[in-house]
Symmetry: C2
Amino acid sequence: MKSDTFHMSMLFDFYGELLTDKQKELFDLYYNEDLSLSEIAEHAEISRQGVRDAIMRAESILRDTEDKVGLVKKYSGYENKLIRIREEASYIAGVNSGLRNYEIAKHVDSIISTVDELLK
Amino acid sequence: MKSDTFHMSMLFDFYGELLTDKQKELFDLYYNEDLSLSEIAEHAEISRQGVRDAIMRAESILRDTEDKVGLVKKYSGYENKLIRIREEASYIAGVNSGLRNYEIAKHVDSIISTVDELLK
């Protein structure tokens, strides 16, 4: 039954707080800790079917929310792209350390600090 | 009863699809079109109190979702900061048009195109 783990982890990062504490716990053990349904059942002292139902219910809440809200689709690639911008800016800073152009240095610093605000 | 219009519009932009069509319609007329409760009541052919209840219910869904998920807080300032990064990069391109440094030009172009991907 396991769905795409990476996608499920992303949905959980964005919308996990919409789940109950119990759903969060079981979902986390299954998708982030990679325990089997049987292992989780033993740990949580409920039936394997109970674990399965709870996780499927949680998946359905996360998927339905994403279908309506679409924020994972919109923002999930943001962080990597921001890191790329930061790298490009650092590269310009490196080239400019030979040129010593004050205007370039100032604007590169501003790009890096703005990216850092967005990444924090 | 009107809450901060700007904040409510942001919440609506992010989470509006979690509302029913009716809630969306009334909320939009009140917060985006700035109609009064009485005007909306007349338009929708329901009581003023009915309009008020529906909008308060919609507000509560949007606020509760933001309290749990926090994506407006996290992402609402993103666009302005990305535009600022784009401006700084254009400024560097301008300085570099005198210097004609190929490496700087290449990395500035890459920053601008990555920002444009994030803004689209």
